[in-house]
């Protein structure tokens, strides 16, 4: 059986599983559609949250992001996990106690203002729609690489699959498919990692292998893996793996990702599905356990895969002859066909010289040894995860699992985002603002239609990406940090915060962050409309647009407190509401139909 057929079978089997779950867990009421009836076990919710959270980018790209930069990009590891500490202590338990269905609903009720509600809906939609585009294109790419279909066909298939279980099951269907998707993606991620760690270091746990000595028979046997990696990198003119620069910018970026993570509405609403406040606290811990299984492994995958590729290019060490074109391993050829890896024998010596051609020392060495430039001309960061099973010489079904895992990571995050978007429309716009008298059945239908509409929009945007797909992370995290996180936190921790303050704060965070991003990245990210060139010399105090979240959040807090202190305190019933979200008693437990 060839690899593509095997991939089809494994991916097809995973889809059949998701459909089976969708039929079993279809939603019969709005409570089930929005919050899975609040009957989800905290461990199960933790697993679903992990799948909800870990996107195509976490699964396919993060190891490469770390591997190509080294220490400095540890920001992604800390930022995308440390946000859960904020969520567990500052938001999740109180919002669960509030006991409604959406994030804008808390903002609207707590700040007794439909303007605040609508501003929150706008923030939520901007954050979630930008984020979902990346998931749809990610699913398309995963399909096209493994199943040999065009990425358009892949994207349409992904939309159809999400449509079936999200429209049918709402939060309830999404929760249980996310659990299945988590299992698929974590197995797919860890199996190749364990084998590679065993080969290189003899340690079966990749996170420990990263700090172990190289095994006998490997390059640099007996010395620590990271020393071997640093040595090879510096010999080839690259930056050291374990050293970094500008610590304050690294700290600011980490903070931006942490606050942004805690303010992402599609993750927050997952904590509305557990029966009690105490469960919401435990569930945040379980979510991080399941996330950590991947996040503790990712830096090892990145470092080990990068080392493997370098020793493949330089089998005799940097002093010896590099690999000959005819001796490249099979996996290298397979992945060259996809365009993620590419070699070009510039000096026609039949050998492939891979080095940093921008380093002056290397240019000298190249002149001495007759090299005419770096010959590994394409080296896509995604390759480090995608080619892992082949590098470790694992059987075909493991490769098929990576395909199913990549698709599961994209689908599970897309479904969570689509639910956040559709519930904001059907619950916060239709039920709360436009037609408060809508019946339960009418609202459930409106929720399903909103979901179908959100999927259609996401599909269209995925097919016609607005040219800023790569900047999605900066925008979504920056906005979540600058708008929703401060507003939600003040709603819980400040009894004095009133409608005018919260609305002004949210708008300040939204406008300031967008203005800063648009200045360097173009107005609405349209290329060529940026006011200043996107280079370090132009940044305000040297802060890149991707690091701006905490500044936007600070502006939100400052404006909110200033405006609130100049206007009247919130009415007594709102102050009582704040008292009530602060104590766990009376959260209501699981609801029956």
């Amino acid at each position: 059986m060839d690899q593509t057929t095997l991939n089809f079978i494994v991916v097809g089997a995973s889809f059949a599983l998701y459909f089976g779950i969708a039929i079993w867990a279809r939603a019969g009421s709005t409570s089930e559609f929005y919050a899975a009836g609040r009957g989800v076990n905290p461990v199960v919710n933790g697993m679903a949250t992990a799948a909800d959270w870990m996107s195509a980018a976490s699964f396919i790209s993060m190891a490469g992001l770390i591997a190509f930069v080294g220490y400095n990009n540890s920001s992604f590891l800390m930022g995308w996990t440390g946000g859960y500490v904020l969520m567990a202590m500052l938001l999740a338990p109180y919002l669960r106690k509030f006991g409604k269905y959406t994030v804008p609903e808390f903002v609207g009720d707590r700040f007794y203002s439909n303007s605040a509600r609508v501003v929150a809906v706008i923030c939520l939609i901007v954050i979630s729609v930008t984020y979902v585009i990346g998931q749809m294109t990610g699913a398309g790419v995963a399909f096209s690489r493994f199943l040999e279909v065009s990425s358009t066909v892949g994207l349409l298939t992904a939309s159809a699959v999400v449509f079936i279980y999200a429209v049918l099951g709402g939060m309830k269907g999404i929760t249980y498919t996310q659990v299945a998707q988590y299992v698929v993606l974590i197995i797919a991620y860890t199996i190749p990692a364990v084998f590679i760690s065993l080969q290189l270091t003899g340690n079966p746990i990749p996170g420990l292998g990263l700090f172990s000595n190289m095994s006998e028979g490997q390059a640099g046997a007996g010395t620590p893996l990271l020393v071997t990696l640093d040595g090879l990198l510096t010999d080839l003119g690259f930056n050291q793996y374990t050293t970094g620069n500008t610590p304050w910018l690294m700290a600011l970026f980490t903070l931006s990702l942490m606050i942004g993570t805690a303010g992402l509405p599609h993750v927050i609403i997952r904590f509305f599905t557990v029966p009690k406040v105490a469960d919401a606290r435990w569930s945040a811990g379980w979510a991080l356990v399941f996330i950590a299984l991947l996040y503790l492994t990712a830096p090892a995958v990145g470092a080990m895969a990068r080392l493997n590729i370098m020793t493949t290019m330089w089998p005799n060490g940097v002093e010896g002859e590099p690999v000959a074109v005819d001796d490249l391993p099979d996996w290298f050829r397979t992945w060259s066909a996809t365009g993620l890896l590419g070699v070009e024998d510039k000096n026609g010596d039949g050998l492939i010289q891979y080095y940093n051609e921008r380093s002056p020392a290397m240019q000298e060495m190249a002149a001495e040894r007759g090299w005419e430039g770096n010959e590994l001309v394409t080296f896509n960061q995604d390759i480090l995860v995608l080619a892992n099973p082949e590098i470790a010489q694992l059987p075909g079904w493991v490769i098929a699992l990576i395909a199913a895992g990549g698709i599961a990571a994209a689908l599970s995050t897309a479904a969570g985002l689509l639910l956040a978007i559709s519930s904001a429309i059907s619950h916060d716009l239709i039920k709360s603002v436009i037609n408060p008298n809508i019946s339960e059945k009418g609202e459930l239908l409106a929720a399903r239609i909103s979901m179908a509409g959100a999927i259609a929009l996401a599909t269209w945007l995925g097919l016609n990406p607005p040219g800023f797909a790569a900047l999605v992370v900066a925008l979504a995290f920056g906005l979540a940090a600058a708008t929703l996180f401060p507003t939600l936190m003040m709603g819980i921790f400040s009894k004095r915060m009133n409608a005018a303050g919260a609305t002004a704060g949210m708008l300040a965070g939204l406008i300031l962050t967008c203005a800063y991003l648009f200045t360097y990245l173009g107005i609405f990210f349209i290329p060529g409309t940026n006011l200043l060139e996107n280079t370090a010399a132009n940044y305000l105090f040297g802060i890149p647009p991707t690091h701006f979240g905490p500044i936007g959040a600070l502006a939100n807090f400052a404006v909110a407190y200033a405006v609130s202190s100049m206007t009247a305190a919130p009415p007594q019933h709102i102050q009582d509401l704040v008292e009530s979200v602060r104590i766990p008693r009376g959260a209501g437990g699981a609801l029956n139909k």
Partner: protein, 85 residues
């Protein structure tokens, strides 16, 4: 809100606990892994220094312990103040 003084003590206990946890949270990530890394660079771990280990493994493990500790401690504080369910 007849139980107000009672709830105030409960809320103050929560804020104290959150403050302690967030100090440790910041120390493990912004501290040891980034800004204070030079101070602990003398401690070697598997071919590099302790700061690198905190950046790629240790901080995540500390976050995990913190969330579970907070949940456990807070559920006890709920009971002590009679606001659990």
């Amino acid at each position: 809100m007849a139980e107000k003084p009672h709830n105030n003590a409960y809320w103050a206990a929560n804020i104290r606990l959150i403050t302690v946890c967030l100090v440790i949270w910041a120390l493990a990530s912004y501290g040891f892994a980034i800004l204070l890394r030079p101070l602990i660079s003398g401690i070697a771990v598997g071919g590099t220094d302790l700061g690198f280990w905190f950046a790629q493994q240790g901080s995540i493990l500390v976050f995990l312990v913190l969330i579970f500790f907070y949940a456990w401690r807070m559920n006890k504080i709920d009971k002590e103040h009679g606001v659990d369910e």
